[in-house]
């Protein structure tokens, strides 16, 4: 039996993937099933996934897309054998669902802000990263799409983003180039420094908004729900936290704030990361059909183009709906092209048989000379003998006319 393949986004930042959900999936597989039963495949190809996103799991010919679906698929397949949540109480399971939603909702914008939207990091680190593993034309499109998503996710943080950018654009201060914590007493007369501190405080508050509940919940335990082994929520947390903690970024606010303010979370992340996102993962190569190539990418882009261009903006009830939608769109496009061609042919045919074009030309020529002549009797030539200006003061009739 061939091992299960986990398809993910490429490794980066010293981590097995650049995507938090993929990292979480790797952590889940590492902690739930034996290492020899699965391999990691860096296919970077979302078209393999039934829900159009990575991570995706390939079991023989069966595909599962998305972390939650992977977890439940493996749990049911192994009849609970791989279920790392099996020892949780009912309430803890409910909490697990709630925290999953909480982590995704609050932490994804922070990760996006740090890696994609903070422009120094994006230009110097994240953007160049994509060129390393993507083939030529696609290496421009995919990072662009990811960046656009990150921007839309952080739309509510506009003023903060502006502040970070303003801070970055300033020349580095010789003394305090790195963040010195909010307790640092700075010269209040230095407005730049003061502004820098307020930006830090706001970033800290953003992180604390997410991390305070997590730290409260961890409260020194090894795992989220205590115990001796990780649960799904730990896998998800390490996926997100490691992307805040490990990348070496020029604007390293996330890492700095984490290390200074949330040592418990850092220790927790380090522990999980060394156990479940370590180097001893077996890698596999993607099958020819699963590889990301220009052709497969183009095919997928075309299929999803009605949606991505907003032409058929809709959320159907099921995946069949998406397919129908896409098909309907292309049928419509063909119809429009066909109709245009038919009309064109008819017009061309008419023009060639009736000579309408020539006719029009003649008319215009004639019209240039004389357009209208209301004649009585035998109309004569135009004799240019008398020349009257209309400006005869005696006969002006403007007063009687005009609106």
């Amino acid at each position: 039996m061939s091992p299960i393949e986990l398809h993910v986004w490429n490794r980066a930042f010293g981590l097995p993937s650049l995507d938090p959900e993929c990292l979480a999936a790797i952590a889940f597989l590492s902690s739930s099933i034996p290492q020899e039963l699965w391999v990691l495949v860096e296919s970077n190809n979302v078209s393999v996934s039934p829900n159009g996103s990575l991570p995706a799991l390939k079991d023989g010919s069966h595909w599962v897309g998305g972390l939650d679906a992977i977890v439940s698929y493996l749990n049911s397949k192994s009849s609970g054998g791989s279920d790392i949540d099996r020892d949780l109480t009912v309430l803890q399971k409910a909490q697990s669902i709630a925290y999953r939603s909480f982590i995704r909702k609050t932490c994804l914008p922070i990760v996006s802000l740090s890696l994609y939207v903070t422009s120094k990091n994006w230009i110097n680190v994240t953007r160049p990263l994509y060129s390393n593993f993507l083939p030529f034309p696609i290496q421009y499109e995919i990072p662009h799409t990811h960046h656009a998503q990150a921007v839309s996710l952080t739309a509510h943080l506009t003023s903060l983003i502006r502040d970070i950018a303003a801070e970055e654009s300033r020349p580095l201060q010789p003394v305090s180039t790195s963040f010195a914590g909010i307790t640092t007493t700075t010269d209040k007369s230095n407005p730049q420094e003061k502004e820098k501190i307020t930006t830090r405080v706001r970033l800290r508050n953003l992180l604390a908004d997410f991390l305070d509940p997590i730290e409260e919940k961890l409260s020194g335990q090894n795992y989220f729900f205590g115990g001796t082994s990780p649960t799904t929520i730990d896998c998800l947390l390490v996926g997100y936290l490691s992307l805040l903690l490990y990348p070496d970024l020029p604007s390293a606010w996330a890492k700095e704030i984490l290390q200074q303010e949330f040592p418990g979370v850092v220790a927790y992340t380090n522990r999980l990361m060394s156990s479940y996102l370590s180097d001893n993962i077996a890698y596999g190569a993607p099958d020819e059909t699963d590889k990301l190539t220009f052709i497969s990418w183009t095919k997928r882009t075309l299929e999803s183009s009605p949606q991505s261009f907003g032409l058929t903006d809709n959320i159907p009830l099921n995946q069949e709906g998406y397919k129908t939608q896409s098909t309907a769109f292309w049928v419509a496009v063909q119809g429009v092209i066909g109709l245009a061609a038919t009309i064109g042919t008819v017009l061309a045919y008419k023009a060639s048989t009736t000579g309408g074009g020539v006719d029009v030309g003649l008319k215009e020529e004639a019209a240039g000379k004389e357009v209208y002549s209301a004649s009585r009797g035998s109309g004569g030539d135009v004799e240019n003998t008398g020349a009257e200006k209309e400006r005869l003061p005696v006969f002006r009739a403007e007063d009687m006319l005009g609106l």
Binding site: K93, I315, N318
Partner: protein, 304 residues
């Protein structure tokens, strides 16, 4: 405080100020403002009976000025319920997002009878405002709204359940045309406004779902997936509630109860059909959880 010479230079010469202070020569009494709809009804139909004349008015998506008739919008219903829970008497006023300074309903206005000026409190500041009212009931719900569990479960309501609600009411074509459009465009039923507003609302719902579900995926989820997520969220909420009367074991209803009620009440009472009704739909899924249904009924019977 001493005025700088610069400020001195900017001030008008004394004689001008003296001259100005004498005008206007005559001040007449102020004219009354235009009549509101209620004034007008009293004026034309002779019915002097208006139920509550509270100084607090909650502008929300509703069909009535009676605060015990539930709003058909979850965000409005949440605050309407919470104000009722905290025993603040108010009337509602049918309105729309354009009226709100923050761009979305609800908001509360306070118009003391002695004064023609009124104060406006947007929904983001309502919670704090309610805390400052001494009229609020004694048996206050003491759940810590900054706690991890509170915020985690809140994110379920605001995430999975809201997305499914948006899908059911705004994207499902049958509910959009039979419930959402008629209710939200009741004041402008003239063609083509409901159609235009309807498609705008639908687009806004799609954008909201796209935003709340986007991770590294380019494709949107399907309706079935959204419903499944919401039912999973209801299951988690049901477990959380357990056999308690109110969420988090509180001895009195609180903001979280209002939050959950806003969705459960509307899903159970609004006759939501289409893809959300029927077997395997969102409504049937919700009805599976008896304690949530009971919770909805508890709040409804007491305050609506």
């Amino acid at each position: 405080m001493t005025a700088s010479p610069f400020q001195d230079a900017l001030r008008a010469p004394t004689f001008i100020r003296h001259l100005f202070s004498r005008f206007p020569l005559i001040a007449y009494p102020v004219d009354p403002p235009p009549m509101s709809v209620e004034d007008f009804q009293r004026f034309t139909t002779k019915t002097a009976a208006v139920a509550e004349d509270s100084i607090y008015t909650l502008y929300s998506f509703t069909e009535s000025t009676d605060s015990s008739i539930a709003s058909f919008n979850p965000a409005c219903l949440k605050w309407q319920t919470y104000l009722k829970i905290r025993n603040i008497s108010f009337k509602t006023h049918p309105s729309n997002n354009h009226a709100s300074p923050s761009g979305s309903l609800p908001f509360l206005t306070i118009s003391p009878p002695s004064d023609r000026i009124s104060q406006t409190i947007p929904s983001t500041k309502l919670a704090r405002w309610i805390e400052e009212q001494d009229k609020a009931v004694a048996a206050v719900n003491t759940v810590d709204t900054d706690g991890g569990d509170y915020r985690a479960f809140l994110s379920l309501v605001e995430g999975a359940i809201r997305d499914a609600w948006l899908y059911a009411l705004y994207i499902d074509p049958s509910n959009l045309s039979t419930i959402t459009i008629p209710k939200y465009t009741a004041h402008t039923p003239t063609w083509p406004i409901p159609h235009i507003l309807g498609s705008q609302m639908r687009q806004a719902a799609i954008d909201a779902i796209r935003k709340s579900t986007s991770s590294s995926t380019t494709t949107l989820p399907t309706g079935t997936e959204l419903y499944a997520k919401a039912i999973e969220a209801f299951a988690a909420l049901s477990t959380l509630l357990g056999d308690d009367r109110w969420f988090f074991g509180a001895n009195e209803a609180g903001l979280f109860d209002a939050e959950v009620f806003a969705y459960t009440h509307l899903l159970l009472r609004l006759e939501v059909g289409g893809s959300a009704g029927g077997d395997g739909g969102l409504v049937e899924g919700l009805k599976e959880f008896g304690n949530l249904v009971g919770h909805e009924e508890r709040i409804r019977r007491r305050w609506f």
